[in-house]
Every structure is written in structure tokens, then in C-alpha cells.
Symmetry: C2
Subunit: 387 residues, 2 copies
Amino acid sequence: MMIRKGRLLTPGPTQLLPSAQLAMAGATMHHRTAEFRALYSKVLADLKVFVGTGNDVILLTSSGTGAMEASVANLTSPGDKVMVVSAGKFGERWEGLAKSYGLNVDVVRSPYGETVTVQQVREKITAEHKVLFMQATESSTGARHDVEGIARFLQGSNTLLVVDAITGLGTTRFNIDAWGVDIIIGGSQKAVMVPPGLAYCAVSERAWQRMETTKNPRYYFDLRKERKNGAKGEASYTPATALVAALSSAMDYLRDQGGGDLAAGRELLINNAEIAAAMVRAASNAMGLKIFSASSPCAALTAITAPPGIDSSDIVKGFRNQFGSVIANGQGEMKGQLFRIAHLGYYDYADTIAAIGALEHVLAGLGHKLELGSGLRAAQEVYAQRA
Amino acid sequence: MMIRKGRLLTPGPTQLLPSAQLAMAGATMHHRTAEFRALYSKVLADLKVFVGTGNDVILLTSSGTGAMEASVANLTSPGDKVMVVSAGKFGERWEGLAKSYGLNVDVVRSPYGETVTVQQVREKITAEHKVLFMQATESSTGARHDVEGIARFLQGSNTLLVVDAITGLGTTRFNIDAWGVDIIIGGSQKAVMVPPGLAYCAVSERAWQRMETTKNPRYYFDLRKERKNGAKGEASYTPATALVAALSSAMDYLRDQGGGDLAAGRELLINNAEIAAAMVRAASNAMGLKIFSASSPCAALTAITAPPGIDSSDIVKGFRNQFGSVIANGQGEMKGQLFRIAHLGYYDYADTIAAIGALEHVLAGLGHKLELGSGLRAAQEVYAQRA
């Protein structure tokens, strides 16, 4: 028997940054003080750099879904025609959200594990669609959607583009101002390495203008109110102060890793996820496993199809019981059929190679034929070439 | 480029237990309060179970060397004849300590990397030797000495036995009461997973009696005074309260891991170190490396000889620069010739397999011929058989 340390290898919540944990533990500020206003303003400025935008960034005390709801509530009026790009559970969340706000929803759908092309959008979209909602990376399948392609296609049209990049930010390169992304959404429990509880979004001028006339109800998620208060270093309602302190610390860590340049730190984070993803994919191939979204895999996580005859729930259990590590099962209709290993945020070489080693033992224990060490060797070769 | 997390793979200080870190951060007690007395008494009782002894345990705010000095100062008088078992840097520390207290020191010596046999002791020892000082595990070479053999040989003689088990406790099975070990010494920064600053030792009745007549000076390290105060839950001088809180938390962790039985938790810790050591040794052999103390390796750490033409300092640097991990160089005359990877304390499968993967990359980068993955495969096979 060996010691089993608890590790989160899930695509959110992710492994915590120790310095952020300490900042969180030490945060005893009141939120209506000059001290907190300075911290809040600093975090909002940092997030602009992290997102890579000149647009204002709004911070919300909510899960990422709260910011998704804020986009729907602020940008639409009941009966508005909108389009949703859907190829997984989070695409379906856009559908559900849009319907709950009384919108007239058209869906461009691809099967789980695939992506939605610009061509598919082109065939369905009309001038009547007020907003297009999509994911940058579909966390339920590990697929990456073509944000740049769809954004550039929509440029000049009347359709606003809202991108859930909750697992996309920090794992994918975006140039949202040049491409014309109107709202992009992130969450604290993802690549930015702190616990759940904060969402953030960058909002374009075009989106702010749209909010002047839209009629759907919003109160807690009123983005214009947050923008006004944010300019003074305040949140409209009591913010999760300790999480704000943690997020500030995580931004400092990335700036430090980037040699004083937060954007360079974000680039390291993306490179890191890409190398980890490449290691896990090479290992999976060597072990005879199939990457679920092989045609367009994202770097945030890898979704792997369970081998024939093995329930992915047993792979998840094996990780937890034998190694103390939490990986993610398939979601929705994919439960039992695939498992997901995260690369977004605070994972390094050691975390990645160890996850691969554990996967070999778990699969071998479940009867999957593999040579111990074969996945590890493939991952070592990727690391030697790329790192 | 990937993120590089800092990891201590050194045989002390070792990786910290997170719950102990939190206990340490939260410890704001005054040391002359009922609250702290209860904590101190609890830790002393826990340490008795951890050491596996009916003897009183003394806690000192010092490094392990402080408890070594306490043994010398309390058990001897100037001019006393003593024996030291020495086959490495820490054996030499006993020599230096004994000489600094005016003792007449005989040394039973073996070369670095080897052990000292009972027969060697038998050939040199006489009734005049008041104390024999030895290591359980020689951290500078990775060798394990025969504590049981030497203890049983000394039974019934007038020679007290003092064992530096600073890296031995929690990595080696001892039955000190049955064998007749008069003082055994541990340190907080080793298998018990907290930072440096506390030493502990278990003292036999025979040793307490000896202290009644010995004449060497002692004040801060006066063990009889600590025993008296310890019985009331107090330390004689201001103790490192936060470290005591951390140590208490570490004992709770081990008790919890042992299903409510601290001794079973210690057994898990020993098994853990043994499996990690076996993984690293199998990997080393597969990579064409030589274990430095192959004849009698301990489980606390593995000392590995640097391949011909490679300076072990470059291996240490590679770990730090490429992976953020700290491994230990050779000490004293062994610097540059060997490197040491720890197994004692809070290391699990993931830490161990990742250290092996990193070692492959570091050695390959320094020109050592190896097939990437060969060490990992060997370690995977050991784990599959033993864990």
C-alpha cells in the first residue's frame, strides 16, 4: 500500500495554486474599504490582460453559468431569435438558458465529440438572429470549436457573438478584439487555478449598446450596473472577497512566470496545457485508446473513450480508490463511455506523467491489454521533443 | 515550456503534509496555557506510539542534531570512553559531537556506502565503552545499519545504545524496547512531514539513571528537566508552538490513514517508503545506474552513483531547472559523485513515478545513454507487484 494524495485531475475545479490558497486564507478584508477597492480594480485590470482585450471585464460572484445567464439576460428580449452552436452538454446549456428567457432558439448541432463548422453556421444563420451563443471548448467532449472562424464570419452582421470560454481561457489563443467577440466568459475554478465562485466576462462596446434596449429581466446579473461600480473598484453586491484575493494572487503568479509580463505568463499556461495534452494523447494511442474528439481536440482536457467492455465509471473509481485522484466521467449521454483528464491550469510534467502511469495501472487492473510503461514511453518522447 | 512546481525530493526537509501546513498557519496559542498543555501532552503521547515504545518521549525545539547533542551531553562525563559507528557524514557527526564534549572516542568505521556489522562492533568494544552512538539509516549514503543486531549484542552490557533514527523513524521497523535501544532520535522534517525545528527522542530507564551521575554540561538540552516538565504538558523553554500543532496534525493524519490506529498509519508510511524505494531502484537498474549502497539500502532514500563522466551536481541542477524539483547531491567527499532521492514521508505513487520520469530526461540531456521510458516501465512493474 502507498499513501494516496488527493489530486483533482478534473477540467474544473482544478488543482489549486498554493500561493492563491494562502492569499485566500489570509483575506479578511471588508469589501467597502479602500483596501478592497484597490484589490478589485487591480484584479479587473489583470483580467483584461489575461483575456487579452481592451474591453471592460466584469467579475461576478457566481459559477460560470451565472455569467452565461448574464449574457442571455442582458443581451436579449423575450421572443428574440438567437442561434446556439451545440455539440455537447454545455452547448445544450446555452439552449436551456435561452429557452428559459423566452427566446426563439435555433440550434446548429453536431454530434458529441465533433465540432461545428463555419459552413454549418453560414447555412442556418439569418439577419434575424440577434445573438449566437457557443463554446470555445466543449468540456463535455474535449472538442475545440472554431471561435475565430465564426467570429470573422459574423463580423459586420447584426448578430452578437457570445463565447463560453470557461475552459477555453488559458488553454486557447484568442484575439477577441480583432475577431469581434462580444462577450467571452471565464471561471475561477479553471485555468486560473483558484476555487469555484467567481466568473468573469469581457464585454464589447457593441454589446453594451445592445443592453440599452433589451428587455429581459436582470438584477444580480445586471452587467451595466457591475460595469459602473467596477469602474470605482466595487462590486454591486457583496463579492467573494477571499476568492478575489486568490485570483489576484494567481494573476501575480502568472505575471511572475512570464518574467513580469502577465500575457507571457498566460502564454506559458497555454503551452503547458498543449504539451500536457500531447503527452496524454500520445500515451493514449500507445495504450490502444481512442481520443473521443480526435478531429478537433482542445488543450483544456482530453476525453478518452473507454475500451470495449470497460465502463468508464470503473476507470474513474480506479483513479480515486487506487491513487486518490479525481478524473471526470463522461457527462450526460456519455456517462460510462468516456473519461476526461484535465490539462488546464496548475498541472506540470510530474502531474501529467503520473496521471498516465496511474491510467496504465487502472486499465490493466480492469483487464485492458497493455504493456506497462508503453503509454509512459510515448509521453516521455513527446515531452523530450516539445518541452 | 511547462509549469514547474517546486517539490522537495530531498531526504529532509521533505514534502509537507497540507493539513499540517494549515494547522501550523492557524496556531496562535500561547505556550503557557491549558490549551497548549493539552496539545503538547497529546503530541508526546502520539510520538510514543509513533516510535513504538513505552519509554518517555522528549520533544526539543531544535534540529535533529540538537537531540544528538542532548544524548551526548546527558549520558556522558568528560573523558568517558565511547564508541561511534561511522560509515558516512552523519556517523562523522557523532564523532565530532563526542569529541567536542571531551570524550575518548573509538570509531568502528566502514567505507561510505557500506554498513557496519555486529562482528566489527564485537571486535572493538570493551566494558569500558559507556555509550555506543550509531545511525539507523545513514542519510549521506542511503545505507541501513543493523540496529537490532547491535542492540541485541549490547544487551546486558554496560554500554548504552543511542540511535540517530532521524531518517530511520517512519521508514524502518523498530522494536526498541525489546531490543534495548536507550535513546532513539527523530526529527520533524523527515517522515513526519512537517518543517524543520523539532527533534524528539525516546529515553530508556537505564538512560535516565545514567543521567543522575554524568557530569557533562547541559542546560537547554537537559533531558531530565524536559521529562519533568513534559509530564505536566510543558516544555522547559518556549517551544515552537506552530510546529507542535503541525506535528499533532501529522500524527492525526497517520492515525486516520491507519483506520484510527497510529501504529498502523506508521506501518503504511514504512510500506510506502519501501515501495517507492523499490520503484526507484528498479528504474535505476533499468537505466544502467548503480545504487550507491546496494549491499544494505535503506527505504528512507536512494543514493545513486552518477554515471561515468557526469557530475551529480549537474543532475541536481537539471532537476531544479527543468522540473522545479530539489533532489540532494552527495555530501562531503561524495559531492559530485552521487545524488539522492527521498522516499520518507509524504510521497505517493505519483511523486515517485514523476521523479523517475524526470530523472530519465535529466540524464538523457546530460548524454547518458538510455531508452526513454525504460526506467518508468521497470517502476510500473514493481508497483503492479507490490502495491
